[in-house]
């Protein structure tokens, strides 16, 4: 039982990282933009988010630093990094109408490079090791619920013991669900992603919607990278830890069928699949087999959903296609 609880807790921790990445990409893709640069964006988010908290602490000093301010600064720094990277992507695909796949892949390479450079630069400059103080580490892994809730047997550990970011992601998923299904702006955004010419003819500013969704989406994805560094990686810069996480988020978007609510359990499931090799070890099965499980599951889901041919469970109809009004 305790092994199971430990597995769930670890899955949620890693799942939180994925949830941010996925929610951001869902928002982007709902506008019809397939941003394959999530991997790069999350790298940048990780490096800049850590830098935000690290330099804050360095400037005000360890004793005077407040955990709350550090969290806010880390989120802001990561969000800005992701937003700037996505704005570049947006300019190239929305305004210049370049191929989205190529641009996204280029952003992955670019963002990974920038993230690595920033992280390594900090590391070298700070004497080979970039880490936050224990005081801030605690702040980043703190939970928001009082002890008596956490002490409820089983449930307490499974529901109330996670770090602050998990609950933030949870709220974000619920908010996005509400946004897409209940608000006018959400409806218009979906219209832009489904059929930009229809939205345009209805008087919706498709360019504005695409830009905003892409930039905000990229910012949210970048927060995921930051969350990885400050939770799983233990507030230490680690140049290889984030590799593959962004791709997992892209796969998860498909797995969730572009629905924010599915992202909640989907990311926890993927998180579990990713850490299974550490916790549920079966001899003779190499860890690599475990690591491909999320992708295998995604492929199976894709096959099943395309076989069922349900019109509701499809990608946004104009995903990956740039829009130009006078196209003939």
């Amino acid at each position: 039982m305790s092994a199971l609880i430990a597995l769930v807790v670890a899955a949620v921790t890693f799942g939180t990282v994925l949830m941010f990445g996925t929610l951001g990409e869902i928002l982007t893709e709902k506008s019809g933009n397939l941003n394959l640069g999530v991997e790069g964006i999350m790298y940048m988010g990780g490096a800049f988010g850590l830098a935000g908290a690290f330099y804050y602490e360095k400037i005000v000093g360890e004793a005077a630093s407040s955990g709350f301010v550090a969290i806010i600064l880390a989120i802001l720094a990561a969000f800005l990094a992701g937003a700037v990277a996505s704005a570049i992507y947006g300019f190239i695909t929305i305004t210049l109408r370049a191929n989205q796949n190529v641009t996204g892949l280029a952003l992955t390479i670019f963002g990974t490079g920038i993230g690595q450079f920033t992280g390594e630069f900090m590391r070298v400059k700070e004497g080979g090791f970039v880490a936050l103080s224990n005081h801030l580490k605690d702040a980043f892994s703190s939970t928001i619920f009082p002890d008596f809730l956490k002490n409820i047997p089983v449930i307490g550990k499974m529901l109330f013991s996670h770090n602050f970011f998990f609950y933030l992601a949870l709220i974000l998923a619920l908010a996005m669900h509400f946004f897409f299904s209940r608000t006018k702006t959400g409806l218009y955004l979906r219209a832009v992603g489904e059929s930009p010419s229809t939205a345009d003819a209805a008087g919706i500013n498709t360019t504005k919607y695409k830009y905003l969704a892409t930039i905000i989406g990229g910012g949210i994805s970048a927060i995921g990278g930051m969350v990885y560094i400050v939770t799983t990686a233990g507030c230490v810069w680690n140049h290889s830890g984030l590799s593959g996480v962004g791709w997992l988020a892209v796969a998860l978007v498909i797995f969730c069928m572009w629905r924010p609510l599915n992202a909640i359990w989907g990311s926890v499931l993927f998180g579990a699949l990713m850490i299974m090799y550490l916790r549920v070890r079966i001899i003779f099965i190499p860890t690599e087999i475990y690591k491909i499980l999320p992708y295998v599951v995604t492929v199976i889901v894709l096959v099943i959903s395309s076989m069922r041919n349900n019109k509701e469970k499809q990608p946004p109809a104009s995903l990956g296609v740039n829009y130009f009004r006078e196209e003939r």
Binding site: R182, T183, K184, L187, Y188, R190, A191, E194, S195, S197, T198, A199, D200, A201, A202, G203, I204, K311, E312, Q314, A317, R325, E326, R328
Partner: protein, 512 residues
């Protein structure tokens, strides 16, 4: 100033690159009247109306609404001016409900189903529509989707409605229902424009008819004072002499026998209906018809690209034996030794690979040759050089991407390759579309040369003048049916124009 005028367009000109789509057109749209905008394919009807809907901007000319100059920069502007257009391809979001589509983009509208429903119901009652606001678009029939489009436009308070080919996909019963609605709207004082090329519908519904031909405005007439014959004359114009050389090949013989050919598309719409004809070696058989009358399906079903539901397609060999082609793939057809060449309408999409050079494109016909896994590059290279020389293709080298050549040169590469395969049947779809006069003549001469070599040439064209001067016989399609086959040497333009719009042509119209 006549207060009855809703919109006036003066001297509207629109160019796409070198092509003039609309050449200083004047048009008046009146309140409480239905105006038909009549013209052949490519006469600029949709382009003209798109400028009212804010999709395009006119290069020259001015639009007036009630005497005031009007600038329409976007579809949003158009709505604000009370102009609503129902496009041929509906602009609806499939996964949304009818109500969601209707309120899409409206600023001051709450997403409150109750108010939307009652407003929609009010509009429906007024003009006798029937729709279910909570139904998803993907569950709807074409006619229901059209209704949603019309309601959407009315919901936004449009007083001027433009319908682009509204009956193209409707059954006769649905068309009748639509006409009832249109008449109700006319009675309500709305100005209505329908873009169409169906003469019987023009006569049935409209008050006035404006005719466009090749981007030019020909004139407006009152429907009650005109006849289908007079409209056809306006639409196709008088014959122009082109002086295309047309020798006669003496020993013509049957090459391709098509009988009762019927094709149905994915949505169950009949595209070809019992098409029967024989193409002869040593003649150019022209295929005329309004766009979408089944020309594409006809060529593609013969070449094995489009599934055939019924009917036979038989190739007659030199020895007089008949070979059945139904159900074979293009590769199987080639293997049986039937020499068929196809110059498709979509040159860079279906015919050539844009990013490859001439040599690479020549290889598309011969990639199966060569030893083992290696390609034979030598003979395609030679062929490319030959086509380059003989057809005077303007290109820096045989490896220059064909996408970056001009339209005429692209077509020469494609035709050159197809002719080089020494076909028995050469099928071409709109081979001179977008080409200048000289290149067009070069293509005509190539086709005539092939004919004199005993090849059976099938030429799908849109310019009746060219068809009449180039072809030996002309097969006229109308809504997927063969409207008739005429001798191009004796037929007149009016006769063919009539057959394009009415099955059977003049005789059939007289009976009606």
């Amino acid at each position: 100033m006549n207060s009855n005028i809703a919109i006036e367009m003066r001297g509207i000109t629109k160019r796409f690159g070198k092509v003039v789509a609309n050449d200083s057109i004047d048009l008046i749209i009146k309140k409480g009247e239905i105006l038909s905008l009549l013209g052949e394919n490519g006469s600029g009807k949709t382009t003209l109306m798109n400028m009212l809907a804010g999709i395009y901007q006119p290069d020259e000319g001015q639009i007036f609404a009630e005497g005031e100059p009007l600038t329409i920069r976007s579809p949003k502007d158009a709505y604000e001016c009370g102009i609503g257009m129902i496009h041929q391809h509906y602009k609806l979001v499939d996964v949304f409900t009818a109500a969601q589509n209707i309120v899409l983009g409206l600023k001051d509208e709450k997403l409150d189903l109750k108010t939307i429903n009652s407003k929609v119901k009010e509009i429906c009652d007024r003009y006798s529509f029937i729709i279910d606001p909570s139904m998803k678009i993907y569950d709807m029939s074409v006619s229901q989707k059209q209704t949603v489009e019309i309601v959407k436009v009315l919901y936004r308070g449009a007083d001027i409605l433009i319908l682009d080919e509204p009956t193209a996909v409707l059954t006769p019963q649905e068309t009748e229902k639509l006409f009832t609605v249109l008449r109700n709207m006319r009675a309500d004082g709305k100005a209505i424009v329908i873009i169409t090329h169906k003469l019987n519908e023009v006569m049935a519904i409209s008050d006035e008819v404006a005719v466009l031909r090749k981007g030019k405005y020909i004139g407006t007439v009152k429907t009650c004072e005109t006849s289908p014959q007079a409209l056809t004359d306006m639409m196709v114009g008088h014959a122009v002499t082109l002086n295309i050389d047309r020798p006669k090949y003496d020993s013509q013989f049957p090459r391709l026998k098509v009988e009762g050919l019927t094709c149905v598309d994915d949505e169950g719409i009949t595209k070809l209906d019992g098409v029967t004809f024989t193409a002869k070696g040593g003649e150019i058989l022209g295929v005329a018809g309004i766009a979408g009358s089944g020309q594409k399906e006809l060529l593609e079903s013969i070449t094995g690209l489009y599934p055939i539901k019924q009917g036979t397609v038989d190739f007659v060999t030199d020895e007089g034996k008949e070979k059945n082609l139904v159900g074979l793939t293009p590769m199987q057809i080639r293997k049986t030794g039937v020499g068929m060449a196809f110059v498709p309408e979509d040159r860079l999409g279906m015919g050539l690979v844009g990013s490859m050079g001439m040599t690479g494109n020549m290889m598309l016909r011969s990639w199966k040759k060569g030893k083992g896994v290696f390609l034979n590059r030598k003979s395609p290279e030679e062929l490319a050089k030959k086509v380059w020389d003989e057809l005077e293709v303007v290109t820096p080298s045989t490896s220059f991407p064909v996408r970056r050549l001009s339209g005429g040169n692209v077509q020469k590469v494609l035709v050159g390759r197809e002719i080089a395969s020494l076909p028995k049947i050469l099928m071409t779809a709109y081979p001179v579309r977008g080409l200048d006069i000289n290149t067009s003549y070069a293509i005509y001469n190539l086709l005539t040369e092939q004919k004199m070599n005993g090849v059976s040439v099938i030429f799908v064209g849109e310019d009746l003048d060219v068809l009449l001067e180039l072809c030996d016989r002309i097969l006229v399609l109308c809504g997927g049916k063969v409207s008739g086959i005429v001798d191009a040497r004796t037929a007149t333009k009016e006769e063919i124009g009539f057959m394009m719009t009415t099955v059977g042509g003049k005789e059939a119209a007289d009976v009606q």
